[in-house]
């Protein structure tokens, strides 16, 4: 059964909500925020569902659909252990009913919609019940209609009641950060609501530890990993859906009696002042802030090196127009959109359609978009974006475009192109760890800042490690290298040459030792000698080599570095996804203890960027697959050939 259902504008205004479970242990608002920030804004709308792991309680599945013409989002949430077969149908039906019969631009009271919703839900449940029974147990008497009726009745009886349980729990901040750290607690029980202060604290902690930047997409990636990766999960979903559903039905049905309907926005008068406190999730935020924010900041400050100056500066005209256009579509003022064109008779509808087409404002259908989308997908793949990712991104953009209206005199092609510009920039613009700033902080503690470099063979790990050493040295930092590639012959000597040229000390213990121990000793020596930064070179390894992946995981576990960089070459195509997904999964799953689990890839070093012309797709693939930003770009053979990623020029290359 559903836990809650929400309708809101793309601008973020809640229009209508209905909550069924009284004893929800998390705030629905938190889950919705996590969905928006961790999935929909990360261009992952093509995923089948989003998993939200509350701090306590069972993991939730959230499914959604858009009405792009009106700029609306519809979300249904239910316990992940239940695989409800009717949710997609429910979402589509509810969307169409709401859009055509209820939506009023600028309206915020949709209490009348509750009846329609309940009827639709009942319908969908009954149909799914019936079809399942027909398929699974043809011998048994069909009782689907009965079950549906029962549910509908329960729903109505509780309508309008408002419990404080869910409202007390949780803040409105970002969340899901410990989705990976905690094993997914799966339970059906109706527990006591969470106290308001506890949920805020963990966020603060996380934000502090990571030096301020929180990256939801990474968290999303983590939770994906926890589920066995996107592929594994979808297989599970498809393969065992039916049986699972059959099993769960029994456990779920007793719940039906306990179920209560609750509005987040009360019965009627959605805009009245009385309603405000009910949606007040700020108390928790406030408490969290107070506990974490008591001490004034003692640190010096921040820098972000991925921030390309070019980015903030001049825009060419072409870009300017594109950006303005994208504003009108992708991230456009959806809330302000006008109602759908109503057809009047066949001829009338034909005529108006014609007229609208001339005026360029008819709602786009999937068919209208298809040619342009295919074009885009082909282009992305030509630019070396991994196929899997090109498909996902295209699907996600498509979902945000279907139903939108063309502004006058804009062709579909241009419209789609602008949406892609917006979407790709969105994917590539990530908040990165602030290395120089974090080094200073660490220095204040009297400890060296430790960076581990990992990646497959021959991608340029040591070379780019040396470039980064040079860059750090230029900013007056004392660097030490650690040769922990005890695997490949010649690796230590290679690093020794770099160390000599750079004039920095190298810690090495030859080849026979355990790399994790070498790193630990190197860090100890660095601390003794007052070095600021330790750069740890590791052996290249193929992502499928389990013993070596385990060793890497152990090295990271033992030494808890401040930064884990993945070095990948810009030449890589479809393998980029596999590499990143498997490295991340290994760091997560193969950690010797669950306590430190989850130090995954913080950033990407993209090498050999000078050799690829406009085939810059690996940048997109790697960022999308890992959720981590490209922090350094290696673009040549000398120590100074290290750059930040210029998002704008990458986007331009991808789409030109």
């Amino acid at each position: 059964m559903l836990d809650y259902f929400a309708i809101f504008t793309k601008g973020g205004a809640l229009l209508w909500t209905l909550q069924f479970t009284a004893a929800l242990k998390h705030s629905p608002i938190d889950a919705l925020n996590a969905l928006v920030r961790g999935c929909l804004l990360e261009e992952r709308a093509s995923d089948a569902a989003f998993t939200y792991q509350p701090k306590t309680g069972a993991a939730q599945s959230l499914k959604w659909t858009f009405h792009n013409g009106l700029g609306l989002v519809f979300v249904a949430a239910y316990q992940r252990t239940l695989s409800l077969l009717y949710v997609d149908e429910l979402l589509a039906t509810v969307r169409d009913a709401f859009a055509t019969e209820h939506y009023k631009p600028g309206g915020y009271d949709y209490s009348a919609f509750t009846r329609t919703f309940e009827a639709t839900l009942k319908d969908c449940e009954a149909r799914s019940d019936a079809s399942r029974r027909a398929a699974a147990a043809p011998a048994r008497a069909p009782a689907g209609a009965k079950g549906g009726q029962q549910r509908g009745g329960a729903g109505k009886s509780g309508g309008g009641a408002m419990a404080g349980a869910a409202q007390q729990s949780g803040d409105a901040d970002d969340d899901a950060d410990d989705a990976a750290a905690k094993p997914a607690a799966v339970g059906n029980g109706a527990g006591t609501p969470l106290g308001s202060s506890s949920s805020g604290d963990e966020d603060e902690g996380a934000a502090n530890k990571s030096g301020g930047g929180f990256d939801i997409s990474k968290l999303k990636a983590k939770s994906r990993k926890a589920l066995g990766g996107p592929k594994g999960r979808s297989q599970v979903r498809r393969g065992t859906r039916e049986e699972e559903e059959e099993k769960k039905r029994e456990t779920a049905s007793p719940d039906k009696k306990k179920k209560q309907n609750r509005h987040w926005n009360g019965g009627a008068g959605g805009g009245s002042a009385d309603d405000l406190p009910r949606l007040d999730y700020s108390a928790a935020t406030a408490n969290g802030g107070a506990s974490a924010g008591g001490a004034p900041p003692a640190d010096a400050g921040a820098s972000r090196m991925e921030d390309d100056e070019d980015d903030g500066a001049e825009w060419s005209d072409e870009e300017e127009d594109a950006a303005a256009g994208a504003g009108a579509n992708g991230r456009g003022a959806g809330a302000a959109a006008a109602g759908p064109a109503k057809a009047k008779g066949v001829l009338g509808s034909f005529m108006s359609k014609l007229a609208l087409r001339v005026a360029g404002s008819s709602a786009l259908s999937r068919e209208d978009l298809q040619p342009a989308l295919e074009d885009m997908q082909r282009k992305l793949m030509e630019r070396n974006v991994a196929e899997e990712i090109a498909v996902q991104v295209c699907e996600s953009v498509a979902q945000s475009l279907v139903g939108q209206k063309l502004s006058s005199f804009t062709g579909v092609k241009t419209f789609v192109l602008r949406a892609f510009e917006d979407s790709l920039s969105g994917i590539l613009n990530k908040r990165a760890v602030d290395v120089l700033h974090d080094v200073q902080r660490q220095r204040a503690k009297g400890r060296p800042y430790v960076v581990v470099f990992c990646g497959v063979n021959g991608v340029g790990k040591s070379t780019n490690l040396a470039k980064i050493a040079y860059w750090l040295g230029q900013h007056g930092l004392k660097v030490q290298l650690a040769a922990c590639d005890t695997f490949r012959a010649g690796a230590v000597e290679q690093l020794k040459t770099h160390a000599m040229r750079l004039g920095v000390p190298l810690y090495e213990r030859g080849y026979e030792k355990d790399p994790a121990k070498v790193a630990a000793e190197a860090i100890r020596v660095a601390e003794r000698d007052g070095r600021d930064v330790v750069l740890v070179d590791t052996a290249g390894r193929m992502q499928d080599n389990e013993p070596l992946m385990r060793a890497l995981s152990s090295l990271i576990h033992v030494n808890s570095p401040n930064l884990v960089l993945f070095v990948g070459e810009a030449l890589v195509g479809n393998d980029a996804v596999d590499q990143l997904v498997k490295f991340n999964r290994a760091l997560h799953d193969l950690a010797p203890s669950t306590a430190t689990r989850g130090h995954m890839i913080d950033g990407i070093v993209l090498t050999k960027f000078d050799t690829i012309d406009d085939k810059v797709g690996a940048a997109l693939s790697m960022v999308y697959a890992s959720g981590a930003p490209v922090m350094f770009v290696g673009c040549g053979q000398t120590y100074v050939d290290l750059k930040k990623l210029n998002v704008k020029s990458v986007v331009r290359s991808l789409l030109s």
Binding site: A13, L14, D203, F214, G289, A302, H437
Partner: protein
């Protein structure tokens, strides 16, 4: 041309003057030339001549600026990190109500709103609430070009844990070329002041942000990609002195706000004064 421009400045209606000022600030015309009023303009004959030149100057200016010049500087952009209260502020100003509450924004909210400042005449302003999420950064850059004024919201409760993020975004706004060039007025609204026990003071927030921006100015200058030059640094004032908002060329003010409860006197006054 120079005389024409200064004459235009004196004689044309407010809106046009603003455009001209932007053109000047935008580097189309040397500032010193435009600001210096030649003495011959003070005589009646001079005025007649100036009127003519002004007319042609204006035509020329329109040609130079193109149609985009008109659009520029018409919206008040609400920005700031996620969860700082932008959307709440938007609806509070637009409807005086928060309706059913908010969730994280995926897209803009735009509306023309009527403002009744405590002092002075009622005004209307075009508000634009832009999502704070990093994926909308590209879009933020684009809309800042057309900003008449910027309200940058900071969560007064969460300043300390989120200071890097807030300063990061503020850095982006302050060093944005159009914001810097046209000296777009900026108000840092310290929001959620209704939570009296938890919220930090405006002064604390000012100091926190100043300290953070000071450090960023240094590390950004040291950041990789030497080709970039010191454009960003210049926007943040002289490097030898510690960073302070007061030392900036553009007007940057801080004020308390509570979007949720609607105590927004200073925000309303700021917007009204800049549209």
């Amino acid at each position: 041309m120079e005389a024409a421009l200064s004459a235009v400045k004196g004689l044309l209606p407010e809106a046009v003057k603003q455009q001209l000022q932007q053109a000047i600030d935008g580097g189309l015309v040397p500032r010193s030339a435009a600001q210096h009023v030649p003495p011959e303009l003070l005589t009646p004959e001079g005025l007649v001549v100036a009127l003519f030149t002004a007319f042609f100057g204006f035509i020329l200016l329109l040609l130079v600026l193109g149609p985009r010049g008109k659009k520029r500087g018409s919206t008040v952009v609400l920005t700031g990190p996620p969860n700082s209260g932008k959307t709440t502020l938007f609806f509070q100003l637009k409807d005086g109500s928060l309706h059913n509450g908010v969730v994280a924004s995926m897209g803009d909210n735009a509306a023309t709103v009527a403002l009744r400042p405590a002092r002075g005449a009622p005004k209307t302003a075009q508000l634009l609430d832009v999502p704070g999420h990093h994926s909308a950064r590209h879009h933020l850059e684009a809309v800042l070009k057309d900003a008449a004024a910027i309200v940058f919201l900071v969560d007064a409760v969460e300043v300390t844990p989120h200071r890097t993020e807030a300063a990061d975004m503020l850095y982006e706004v302050l060093t944005h070329s159009a914001v810097h060039r046209s000296r777009t007025p900026l108000l840092i609204a310290c929001n959620k002041m209704d939570l009296e026990m938890e919220a930090h003071s405006v002064d604390f927030i000012r100091k926190t942000l100043e300290r953070q921006l000071d450090a960023m100015r240094k590390t950004r200058a040291a950041s990789i990609g030497k080709d970039a030059g010191g454009g960003g640094g210049a926007a943040l004032g002289p490097a030898e002195r510690p960073f302070s908002f007061a030392a900036l060329r553009s007007k940057v003010a801080l004020a308390p706000a509570a979007a949720k409860t609607g105590s927004l006197e200073e925000v309303v006054a700021f917007i009204a004064a800049n549209v």
